[in-house]
């Protein structure tokens, strides 16, 4: 390695270390400032909570196990709705791709449904489906499904026409073309779409839990705010932050895995 290359690598490392250090600094100083402000009564810790109060609440709820059931419910609903979105999204996009007239008929409706603020549907869904997990899952699905269908369908129809011609020269039917060409060619779009969707599912589940739930982090937030247990609220928000980071990392890993095997 030449001296210049060494210097470059060193500089690169230095930069990464500095960035990480500042990230950590920002985090710790935020936590410290928050705690100090609460202790010195600069802010009202009853309203704003404080890191130590949150930790105390968390430990207490860990001990009686209640926090785990809330987290499990929220995560379970998120994963379930995510799985349904993946299946329904790809399935619907496939049907639209197979039958062009159908997609031409439905396109304006999909666009309207996609641009609609879907959280507006949640109260209605709860009236229809009842105060239960079903309503929450449907709410979460309604948030992401239309965008997913449009997005994946666009990827499907963007398949290189010359490659489709190639498949036709082999006598391939539509389903063969889909399996061997369209689906693998759209895999990247599908995965990046799923990366967005897992987050959207969490959003949908929390909205659903706001309105209809006896359990879950969304329920904890809305209930906590009603009874002025701000520690619950802020703790739940922090747990949601951690969950979304983990979910993002998981999809990131799934993406790398898929890229490796395909």
């Amino acid at each position: 390695m030449s001296e210049l290359q060494k210097a470059y690598i060193k500089q690169l490392k230095h930069y990464t270390v500095t960035i990480t250090a500042f990230r950590f600094l920002l985090f710790t100083s935020f936590i410290a400032l928050w705690e100090i402000s609460a202790r010195l009564d600069w802010i009202n810790s009853f309203v704003f909570s404080s890191p130590s109060r949150i930790m105390k609440t968390f430990i207490k709820m860990c001990n009686d196990g209640s926090i785990f059931s809330h987290i499990t419910v929220t995560l379970g609903e998120t994963f379930f709705s995510f799985a349904l979105i993946v299946t329904l999204g790809i399935g619907a996009a496939l049907i639209l791709w197979m039958f062009k007239p159908l997609s031409d008929v439905l396109e304006p409706y999909l666009i309207v449904l996609n641009s609609l603020p879907k959280s507006a549907l949640a109260p209605m869904l709860i009236v229809w489906l009842g105060n239960n997990a079903k309503a929450i899952i449907v709410t979460a699905i309604s948030i992401a499904i239309f965008g997913t269908i449009l997005n994946i369908y666009t990827a499907f129809s963007g398949t290189d026409p010359e490659k489709i011609k190639l498949m036709r020269t082999f006598g391939a039917g539509k389903l063969d073309i889909f399996k061997k060409l369209v689906l693998p060619a759209s895999l990247n779009t599908i995965i990046s779409n799923m990366k967005v969707n897992i987050g959207l599912c969490l959003v949908g589940v929390v909205i659903g839990e706001f309105l209809a739930a006896r359990k879950g982090l969304g329920y904890l937030i809305i209930y906590g705010s009603q009874v002025f247990k701000m520690d619950w609220v802020v703790m739940s928000i922090i747990i949601l932050c951690i969950i979304s980071v983990i979910l993002f990392k998981l999809t990131d890993m799934a993406e790398k895995l898929v890229k490796k095997i395909s």
Partner: protein, 255 residues
């Protein structure tokens, strides 16, 4: 020699909202078994359309296509089609790409796999079976595409400007390679190109199409004297080459 392919009074038009475009008009053509024929013409003259019709991807509006004296739809003769770009699938290895046609036709037998392996070995891709297409050079990619077509053991090979996406140097090399492969395999080949020199270099017969609506303007037999065996490369060096070039050039520009 026997005709393997005959077109009689073939007509074809494209339809769009803006109107009708007659791509081919009254095309009559006979192609002998085992021959290498090139079709040249100005861009948009329906050269590629002709191949689509012969491959059965499109049906003529009028006229008939016969393969070994049978209508195309009833024919058992197999037709291989090589497109402009190699269209290798990046998510498959070279080997898997080459098997794509057999896989789609559900003809993936042990015997065919052996044939493909032999072809890969014979044409310098034996060590690249498990490589991704992006790891191959332009010329190797085009050879892989040809093997993918040959794997189906076609009697007639349709080549739709298969070298146009390559740089000039590679183009000459790949042209030479592919010519040799086709001759070795004894296939009938129809090459569509807008490159006059390429047409003369590779074909025994050059068919000149007029601009839209495409119809046959002239058919020129290429007879060259070469020192060694005839290949595209030796043909380019033949004394007759430039007179053929001028002749075809004139006919194409006298539109």
């Amino acid at each position: 020699m026997k005709n393997i392919l005959s077109l009689s009074n073939v007509n074809y038009s494209y339809h769009t909202k803006e109107g009708e475009t007659v791509a081919l008009q009254d095309v009559n053509l006979n192609i002998e078994e085992g021959s290498f024929v090139a079709i040249v013409g100005p861009s948009g003259c329906g050269k590629s359309t002709l191949l689509s019709l012969v491959s059965g991807l499109a049906k003529p509006d009028k006229g008939e296509i016969y393969v070994k004296n049978k209508p195309l739809s009833q024919s058992e003769v197999r037709i291989g089609y090589m497109l402009q770009r190699d269209n290798l699938f990046e998510w498959r290895t070279v080997y898997k790409n080459v098997l794509l046609g057999l896989e789609t036709r559900k003809e993936l037998t042990q015997k065919k796999k052996q044939l493909v392996n032999n072809l890969l070995e014979a044409y310098g891709l034996g060590n690249f079976k498990n490589a991704k297409p992006s790891q191959l050079s332009g010329g190797m990619r085009q050879r892989a595409a040809l093997i993918r077509t040959l794997a189906l053991e076609p009697d007639i090979l349709l080549l739709d400007e298969p070298f146009s996406a390559l740089d000039y140097q590679t183009r000459l090399e790949v042209g030479d390679d592919i010519y040799k492969i086709i001759k070795e395999q004894g296939k009938t080949a129809i090459l569509v190109t807008h490159d006059i020199a390429e047409a003369i270099a590779m074909a025994q017969k050059v068919i000149i199409l007029t601009s839209r609506p495409g119809t046959i303007r002239d058919i020129i037999d290429i007879n060259v004297t070469t020192l060694e065996e005839r290949t595209p490369f030796t043909t380019r060096c033949a004394p007759e080459f430039s007179s053929y070039f001028n002749k075809i050039w004139k006919e194409l520009s006298n539109e």
